[in-house]
């Protein structure tokens, strides 16, 4: 009877049997650290705001100024959402319906505004039209800045629509318009909704454009309160409100998102048939896109180029070089930190599906919705308690990582989930430890997604303004800061070389991300990736 000597044998043969591997414990520890760090802004805001008495809060909330802030913010959200959806979804549909062979160029045209920060847009418009001010101007600029989100998501969703369905509907006697509203639209609604969330969050957190155009929104007011009077308490209360608005919008979107049906077909039939066939209609659709890109892209390009040339003699090359270096330095650090946290978090979510990991992911998502101003504010308070951290490159990079971590997590997690579990299992049974399996199987196979996450964080961090203004070390000038300080003084000539360099740098990752094969690939798991840009 072999079971009699189990106790004796188990000591000899099966002695050090750990339930969890090094990889497991390490990932859990890093996830816990991330949760603690991501909790800082929430903790700070509550702590600050709780210092205020009820009457102070109501005085702040019900003064006329606050009401106009609310009005401005929500009007902007409404106008920009409307504009971005109409233009973004419209262009995507046109480009999809026309189905030209060289769609890559148009894709790039529609995506390129991603590389241009809203304050550079604003700056180039003001440089030509000095009267360009106010809420309508802000709505116009922010529509340009956010349109690519809707465009990319809609275009990806359209490519997932099975053409067989369209052909079947046509054969059942539906005309083109009916096919669109009954077959296509229901399938792209989810993508439009998810990207609309990104647009709204963008508008909520935008600081550069509204400040230059003199529109008092939450972000601008918070920054002014902080900067002018160091009134941290009122700033924290407004920050808290802003956080609540953002969190509410996320929750609403999640509810709506669950109801959307995903496409049921895994096999898409790519037919060459286009929905718009008449040459004139084709031409008209394409010219619409061209006119738009002229307004969105050519105008800033013209301003930047002419101002550059006018100012050519006076470009301060050492300053430009150091700002470029600084920008690359902090945003690269930020992207590295973001990936360093995204990997263990994604791994923990996939491997354990524990509440703890999913909760951390939620916190990361809400942090992503926090305006840079609010995060900046809370990290300033946190940093000022630790002298070596305060106004350091490290803290600024960390702020970027925290702000944009959701982009890294979305991509890393999606690409890790695509790896068949069997590959890891085979590796384990072959005697390769969990940690080596992670290194030799998971990392290389998830590399494309990790790269995309890295590029997205890098791209967004390069353009980030409000947190940079608050957290940068004294005398540490980045491209964004230089553009900002020159344009607030209407020194457009001076800002031009910095803006030019920033756009040139930001265009590189944008270009990589807009490649059609990329979009095609992404569209396969777009559901899980709605936190990507």
């Amino acid at each position: 009877m072999p079971s009699l000597d189990i106790a004796a044998e188990s000591r000899i043969e099966a002695a050090p049997m750990k339930k969890t591997s090094l990889l497991h414990r390490g990932s859990l520890a890093l996830t816990a650290l991330l949760l603690a760090l991501a909790g800082i802004p929430f903790f700070y805001l509550f702590q600050r705001a709780s210092g205020a008495s009820g009457s102070e809060i109501s005085a702040l909330l019900f003064r006329e100024k606050t009401l106009s802030i609310f009005f401005n913010t929500f009007s902007l959200i409404f106008l920009v959402s409307l504009g971005a959806v109409l233009i973004g979804a419209g262009f995507a549909t046109l480009l999809y319906a026309v189905k030209i062979t060289r769609s890559a160029l148009f894709l790039l045209l529609a995506t390129l505004p991603l590389a241009i920060p809203s304050y550079v847009f604003t700056y180039s418009w003001i440089a030509i039209f000095p009267w360009f001010r106010g809420i309508w101007a802000a709505a116009l600029v922010l529509t340009f800045s956010t349109m690519p989100y809707i465009f990319l998501a809609t275009y990806a969703a359209l490519r997932r629509v099975d053409l067989v369905q369209i052909e079947v509907a046509r054969s059942l006697g539906f005309n083109r318009l009916e096919v669109f509203t009954k077959i296509v639209l229901p399938q792209i609604r989810g993508a439009i909704g998810a990207s609309l969330l990104l647009v709204i969050l963008y508008v909520l957190s935008d600081f550069g454009a509204v400040s230059l155009l003199g529109v008092d929104t939450f972000t601008r007011t918070i920054q002014n309160l902080y900067k002018a009077s160091f009134d941290r308490q009122s700033a924290a209360i407004l920050g808290l409100i802003l956080m609540f608005i953002a969190a509410t919008i996320i929750l609403i979107e999640e509810r709506v998102h669950k109801k959307n049906i995903a496409s049921n077909s895994s096999v898409r039939v790519q037919s060459s048939a286009s929905l718009i066939t008449k040459p004139m209609a084709k031409l008209a659709s394409l010219s619409l896109i061209v006119i738009y890109s002229f307004l969105a892209l050519a105008l800033p390009a013209y301003v930047l180029t002419t101002r550059m040339i006018a100012n050519f003699q006076e470009i301060d090359y050492p300053a430009l070089a150091s700002a470029t270096f600084n920008t690359l330095l902090v945003s690269t650090f930020g992207a590295i930190i973001a990936i360093a946290f995204a990997l263990p978090l994604s791994w923990t979510i996939i491997a354990t599906r524990s509440r703890f990991a999913l909760f951390t992911e939620k916190v990361v998502l809400i942090t992503h919705a926090l305006p840079g101003v609010v995060l900046g504010l809370s990290l300033v308070a946190f940093g000022s308690k630790i002298s070596w951290l305060y106004q350091s490159v490290g803290l600024l990079s960390f702020a970027y990582a925290l702000l944009f971590l959701a982009k890294a997590v979305g991509n890393t997690r999606a690409s890790m989930e695509k790896i068949p579990p069997i590959l890891k299992e085979v590796s384990l049974t072959l005697g390769v430890s969990p940690l080596s399996t992670f290194r030799k199987i998971t990392l290389p196979l998830a590399a494309p997604g990790i790269w995309v996450g890295f590029l997205l964080v890098l791209l967004t961090a390069m353009k980030e303004l409000p947190a940079t203004l608050m957290l940068r070390p004294t005398g540490f000038e980045t491209l964004a800061v230089e553009i900002w300080s020159a344009s607030t003084l209407s020194q457009f000539n001076q800002a031009a070389p910095y803006a030019f360099t920033l756009i040139a740098l930001a265009a590189i990752p944008t270009f990589i991300l807009s490649r059609p094969d990329r979009i095609q690939q992404e569209s396969n798991h777009v559901e899980k990736e709605r936190w990507r840009e």
Partner: protein, 352 residues
């Protein structure tokens, strides 16, 4: 060469029991096929042996080494198991050579030794020229062979094959399974293969274990489980079987193919109801009337080329169901013919 001993193994996933007190012992160097319908827990058994699923009770031993007992579970990477999953599970980012050499990097082999092992393995599976190919450039059969080579390269104690041939077309499957069982024999590796294909199990393995609802219902040599099934269910799962109602009494076992069935059935008292199992090839069919043969009518004929499946209705019998008989080719009868059948072979009676 390592034996495998599984004792009272239970696995519960969520709140669903998948394996229930399962015990099985495999001799060193034997090739065992676990045959069962999908959902019977055979893959779970394989994965539990590999250490990928923690059991809730029971022990697993490789030879003398205890690898799993109650809460002490040796993690998969310390078990030295060669796992060949369905469709191979080759690492898509590595070449064929790198796949085979995957687990050799960490061991204390020199670079040359590693290269030699990979070359040997490639030669063994006859894919030497494919060393630098990507897995997606291989056919399904080649992928399976590379997966097997990758498993054998670490000189595993036990090789686990999870439906290795299911993705292949019929002809390739036959060739490859011969090749694989020969290969495993030559290296005298203890191997377990799970499959739902009865032919595959009978042809390639030394031992066939029949699994149903998380339990092993019978195991033995292929001939044993085919010819002496313990239950009617086992009989059906190991091959085509004719299940006929029967009674057992003092006159012996009476069944519809017994000449005296209709006459004496009602007179058989104190009889035990049950059924008998007859293999279709155990029924002889003849155009001429022979003694004890029963006249019947062909109602259907499925022609397969090398043989045919014939459905018959018995004449002058209380039994009204169809009798299915396999007859070897060349086939000379057709639907509507009157033929005579007789049963040649063992009677397997299963009481109700």
């Amino acid at each position: 060469m390592t034996s495998l001993e599984v004792t009272d193994l239970s696995v519960t996933i969520g709140s669903t029991p998948i394996l229930k007190n399962l015990s099985i012992t495999l001799g060193a160097g034997s090739f065992t096929a676990i045959l069962g319908p999908s959902g019977c827990g055979k893959t779970t058994l394989l994965r539990t042996i590999a250490g990928l699923i923690p059991p809730s009770a029971g022990t697993i031993r490789f030879g003398k080494q205890l690898v799993s007992v109650s809460s002490l579970v040796l993690p998969p990477h310390k078990r030295k198991i060669g796992y060949v999953p369905q469709e191979g599970g080759l690492f898509p980012h590595l070449s064929v050579g790198e796949n085979i050499g995957f687990a050799l990097n960490k061991s204390d082999l020199t670079k040359d030794q590693r290269r030699i092992i990979v070359a040997e393995m490639l030669e063994l599976i006859g894919l030497t020229k494919f060393i630098d190919r990507s897995p997606h450039e291989l056919s399904g059969g080649q992928q399976t062979r590379v997966a097997l080579a990758r498993a054998l390269a670490i000189e595993p104690k036990i090789v686990l094959l999870d439906e290795p041939f299911s993705a292949l077309d019929a002809q390739l499957r036959n060739e490859l399974r011969e090749e694989v069982s020969l290969l495993l024999k030559r290296r005298a590796t203890t191997a377990i293969m799970v499959t739902h294909d009865r032919e595959e199990a009978l042809v390639s393995a030394d031992i066939v274990a029949l699994m149903r609802d998380g339990e092993i219902v019978q195991y033995g040599s292929p001939a044993e489980v085919y010819l002496q099934p313990l239950t009617a269910e086992v009989a059906i799962s190991t091959g085509d079987a004719l299940l006929l109602p029967a009674t057992r009494g003092k006159n012996g076992i009476l069944h519809p193919l017994h000449a005296q069935y209709s006459k004496t059935r009602s007179s058989q008292e104190k009889s035990e109801q049950g059924s008998i199992v007859i293999r279709p090839e155990e029924i002889k069919i003849s155009m001429k009337k022979e003694s004890s043969a029963i006249a019947s009518l062909i109602t259907r004929l499925d022609y397969y080329g090398h043989d045919a499946m014939v459905e018959l209705n018995l004449e002058k019998s209380d039994f009204l169901g169809a009798i299915r008989v396999r007859i070897p080719g060349p086939v000379h009868c057709s639907v509507g013919d009157r033929v005579f059948i007789s049963h040649v072979g063992p009677i397997r009676f299963f009481p109700e």
